[in-house]
């Protein structure tokens, strides 16, 4: 195993190629503002889904409060950039760090809980964060925080997505990540093999929250305006649905899931009255007919080890 394999070089070239291609298409106007808007939504959803997948898909910790980490990030960056006039890099950094701190604080007490109980506790945590936001005048209460400068652009979005995918997939393929997966599989056996399960569960929450915080910052600094209701229970569910639909424990699945569900959702904008009803039916059908998700726990690999185009689905 080496860093400079053909595969890694090809991947790097592809990553840069996509970046410049989109930049070019935006500059000549082929990618218009409507497509851009959707790209931002998809990108933010990818970050959210991949980071939740680390917590729920890989580590097996059922969380219904992921939107709260996003909210903390959004508000942190909003305050930094709109109220304190800091540059975006500061906003993003503070967003990520404060969200991961929240992940740590919620993680330490609640991770003694398992399964549904953990789910409900994280749901409660999310609602508490939302209610604090609703009642805090400094951040505008229920009206929300306005006049956030738009700093999120293609460069920020794209490289945040790439960094999320890069770091989380590195993590899950290291011994730390394997420890997390072993917790999902059998917590008692993992513990008996020397895995400090409490540490790894909290670590998964901290890393997941870190990226959710970044997603929040990208959101706040794109849409000018944030309010607590945006980050409620339903947002957490939306993220969870992407993860389950894509496949728990599959990073490529989360990416595919984010794209498909964002497309479905933007398509449903055409039926405003029945949008949510149709969405509910689609969710139900997915759960009945494809409960393991599009990808299962498999990953889609573009290049094989030698660097040739393989384009097939491989186990790990």
């Amino acid at each position: 195993m080496k860093i400079l394999t053909k595969k890694n070089i090809y991947t790097l070239v592809l990553v840069l190629l996509i970046y410049f291609l989109v930049l070019l298409l935006s500059n000549v106007g082929i990618i218009d503002s409507y497509i851009q808007l959707n790209m931002v939504i998809v990108g933010i959803n990818i970050i959210l889904a991949v980071s939740l997948n680390l917590i729920t898909g890989f580590t097996g910790q059922f969380s219904l409060g992921h939107a709260a980490f996003m909210a903390i990030g959004a508000y942190a960056s909003g305050i930094m950039t709109a109220k304190l006039g800091q540059p975006f890099i500061v906003g993003v950094a503070v967003a990520a760090l404060s969200a991961s701190l929240a992940g740590l604080l919620i993680g330490i007490p609640t991770l003694r809980l398992r399964g549904d109980y953990l789910a409900i506790a994280t749901l409660g945590f999310g609602e508490i964060i939302k209610i604090i936001g609703l009642n805090n005048d400094y951040v505008g209460g229920a009206i929300g925080l306005n006049d956030i400068p738009r700093y999120t652009n293609w460069t920020w979005l794209y490289f945040s997505v790439i960094a999320t995918i890069f770091i989380i997939s590195n993590f899950v393929k290291s011994y730390h990540g394997r420890a997390c997966i072993s917790i999902r599989e059998d917590e008692i056996a993992a513990e008996a093999m020397g895995v400090n399960t409490t540490y790894y569960k909290i670590l998964a929450f901290v890393i997941g929250a870190f990226f959710a915080g970044i997603a929040g910052a990208l959101y706040a600094n794109y849409f000018y305006f944030i309010k607590p209701d945006t980050f409620g229970f339903m947002k957490s569910i939306d993220i969870l649905v992407i993860v389950v639909f894509g496949g728990m424990g599959s990073i490529t699945g989360s990416i595919v899931g984010a794209v498909i569900l964002s497309v479905i959702s933007s398509f449903l904008q055409g039926f405003p009255e029945l949008r949510m009803v149709i969405y509910a039916v689609i969710l139900f059908l997915i759960m009945v007919y494809r409960p393991q998700g599009v990808m299962g726990d498999k990953e889609f690999k573009l290049f094989n080890k030698e660097g040739g185009l393989s384009g097939n689905v491989s186990s790990k």
Binding site: M1, K2, I3, I167, N170, F171, S174, Y175, H176, G177, R178, A179, I181, S182, E185, D186, I188, A189, A190, E191, A192, M193, G194, V195, N196, T197, L203, G249, D297, S315, K316
Partner: protein, 256 residues
């Protein structure tokens, strides 16, 4: 030299005594068999030895990598102290491959830090390669190399037991606790397992304590046999002594 000392060990669950008044010393390098009828407290004793339960009273002291007493036991620390175990009801990581299962056993021997893993720095490749080589070596001795990429849940029962032993060994223990390693194996597999345990004891310089119902395996393999009955230590001795002990015969065959 003794490496395990148990003093007046008691464990009760809601008033029911599962293990009571156990005293014993285990010498380094031995293979010790732990036998007794169902419900005699053997697995509870293992759970006490590995920190899954804490004693109601009394204590357990290991003199392995360091001297450590049961007040400080935590399941996840036992591997660091040099104690590894398998489970009666096979607890493999079902959706992980054989190789990954054994790599979890190797967990505490990894040396690269979190930062290296997040950014995949050169240390990652070095240590992962090292671990891979060691684990593959281990799998080969267990005849499992061909199955290294098979998901654990897809293995036959006998091989699952072997993977569990390999996973425990990957943690490089001084003391290996095997909970019914031959359960569900056919006679041929059991014979192979007997040889394997003998071989790993020599090769890895181990002390082994095993719970087993298969008497031929116990008698062939163990230097020393401990018999539990109703949570207490009924008898202890060499295989011949135990085979001829009237108390033991009574406990197994029933009667007055």
């Amino acid at each position: 030299m003794e490496m395990l000392v148990v003093n007046n060990l008691y464990k009760s669950f809601g008033g029911v005594k599962a293990v009571s008044n156990i005293n014993m010393k285990i010498e380094e390098g031995q293979i010790v068999g732990l036998i007794g009828p169902n419900g005699a407290g053997k697995t509870t004793f293992f759970n006490l030895l590995t920190g899954i339960y804490s004693p109601s009273s009394g204590d357990i002291v290991y003199k392995l990598n360091q001297e450590i007493s049961s007040i400080n036991f935590r399941p996840s620390r036992m591997v660091k102290y040099g104690v590894a175990r398998t489970f009666q009801n096979i607890r493999l990581f079902k959706e992980m491959t054989v190789l990954e299962n054994v790599l979890i056993g190797y967990h505490n021997n990894f040396k690269y830090n979190l930062f290296t893993s997040l950014f995949r720095l050169p240390g990652y490749y070095k240590h992962e390669d090292e671990a891979y080589d060691e684990v593959v070596e281990l799998l080969k001795t267990f005849n499992l190399y061909d199955k290294k990429d098979v998901l654990a849940k897809n293995l036959p029962y006998g091989e699952q037991r072997k993977v569990e032993i390999a996973r425990a060994l990957a943690s490089k223990p001084k003391l290996l606790l095997l909970d019914e390693p031959a359960a569900g194996m056919n006679p041929q597999e059991t014979r192979e397992l007997t040889e394997l345990i003998q071989w790993i004891r020599e090769e890895f310089d181990l002390t082994v304590i095993l719970i087993e119902h298969d008497m031929s395996l116990v008698m062939d393999l163990c230097d020393d046999i401990i018999v539990f009955n109703y949570g207490t230590l009924l008898a202890r001795g060499t295989p011949e002594e135990i085979q001829n002990n009237p108390e033991v015969i009574k406990a197994y065959l029933g009667g007055e």
